[in-house]
Symmetry: C2
Subunit: 305 residues, 2 copies
């Protein structure tokens, strides 16, 4: 519990962009992180992602593993959204000593959210967690950034989303390593499963991993139905990743992301000398702005130090 | 029509990041853009945003104004989503000589989408459009970036969104300059309107503009009910913006955004010399990556040219 409290405090510093931000990350990385399996769960609002995450975490926690749940979905019960019953279940989960739950505010730009999510997962990783479940809301393709932070992406759909999903489908179809049709006792579950499978057949050339057939699994998360089957596939995928170099590639990508973030901050900081700041404000004042264009001001900025 | 076709082609170049990207923007800005009134319409999926935008565009087009609709909502009929009836109405709209419609793919990072949306609006502005209606899906606070591109943000809610809206509310409450309760003939419209109004009362200290009372308007977009009322408020707000310096501040913000984008591209491009690229790849290879941290590689990159 002590450990969980410390982790929570550290994450808060990351979220609030505390002055220790980079020191925390620097120290986390020194611990040779990278062993945690990062599982992204995404899908439209109301697909039952939180309940699914809940069940997965419960089953995993019985295997003597340390599990973290990170939610970046504002409508998730993990974030205080959704209905009371869900929230109570989440609270029970949070009491287990080997389960850590954290919701992230989506305040601010998503670009920033992407690297922050990764940084937070890195911190969790450095605290010795084995599995990180990352729940994100999937609307169109805007979840792509956060998918970068995961080793596997589970796309959760529901029969009744119908038309909505139709329009989101192309985005979600591209990122799913496993598909779940949740609430599978409702009308249309079978036909959606068939639809998804045949779309996946068509998209075979985009496969990240050769000879891997993306499974489509029908679940009823509220009744804990087929969650074991899903879990089996999720864990099997980890072995596949390791056998196919993709485990390394995902880590490489994250190191690159972090380096780019460090470069960005440093180089942009260096650019904004006092002289340049003054020049910018002078060119942006009410009298001058209409005589200027961003491109002209940019050229002026480049011409001084 | 000729003009519209040329505009469409130019926007495609922006979307596809054509090599002429910055030249196009540079030329657009030279035309002293900034007179177009940029109206953001956001809200949860299924709130009827597209129908509302449709009606607003129709009424505005009768005032002898040039109207553009930019949709960054993948489930919008403007983007080919939603039901057939909607799409047919959109097509009728597109046939009017003074209405231009364009949907943007949300592919790629949202950070990039934000500046792209602004750039596209700048191009539209340079083609002499008076009004730009920007439709975005509002989930949590992820629409914030795109709000930056607008002079006014209209938040569209519906009675039945209930719990969902509850959890999104804080984000949407902060960005709305006008609130619309659409589908107001359904149960719960009045209580939602009262709820929203009282939340707005509580948040009065966050007001962007003193003495401006944020209106909450009940509409039925499909029946064209109260759209005139909404339009009146939207146009009134433009006068308020101009009287309160906020019209200038929004433009200043956009010039700054664009300058920052230009700096970012240039400075990052300059950073990545061939030597640094080689050093990075060398440090990221399978043998070296585990001995490294992003921070250590970053320091190495800084130490060479």
């Amino acid at each position: 519990m002590q450990n969980k409290r410390k982790l929570a405090k550290t994450i808060s510093k990351i979220e609030n962009e505390h002055s220790d931000y980079e020191t925390i990350l620097k120290n986390a990385w020194k611990k040779n992180i990278g062993s945690a399996y990062r599982i992204g769960i995404t899908g439209p609002p109301g697909a039952g992602k939180s309940t699914l995450v809940n069940q997965l975490a419960l089953q995993l926690s019985e295997q003597n593993l340390k599990i973290a749940i990170v939610s970046v979905d504002p409508s998730s019960p993990f974030s205080g959204g959704a209905i009371l019953g869900d929230r109570i279940r989440m609270r029970e989960l949070a009491l287990k000593p080997n389960i850590f739950i954290r919701s992230l505010a989506t305040r601010g730009s998503l670009g920033g959210l992407s690297i922050k999510t990764q940084d937070i997962c890195d911190v969790i990783d450095s605290f010795g967690y084995d599995i990180i479940l990352i729940e994100t809301v999937g609307i169109g393709q805007i979840e792509l950034d956060i998918v970068d932070a995961s080793d596997i992406t589970v796309v959760v759909l529901v029969p009744e989303s119908g038309d909505d999903i139709q329009s989101m489908k192309s985005g979600l179809m591209e990122i799913g390593d496993i598909f779940v049709i949740n609430k599978a006792d409702r009308d249309g579950a079978n036909s959606l499963a068939i639809n998804v499978s045949s779309m996946l057949q068509l998209k075979q050339q985009f496969k990240k991993i050769k000879n891997y057939n993306i499974p489509v699994i029908k679940t009823i998360a509220t009744k804990n139905e087929n969650i074991d089957l899903l879990l089996e596939q999720v864990l099997k995928y980890k072995t596949i990743l390791k056998n196919n170099n993709n485990w390394y590639l995902a880590r490489k990508k994250r190191v690159e992301n972090k380096i780019n973030e460090l470069i960005f901050s440093r180089v942009i900081d260096n650019f904004w000398t006092n002289e340049r700041k003054i020049l910018l404000q002078d060119n942006l004042n009410k009298n001058n702005i209409s005589k200027n264009t961003p491109h002209r001001i940019f050229e002026k900025l480049l011409n001084i130090k």
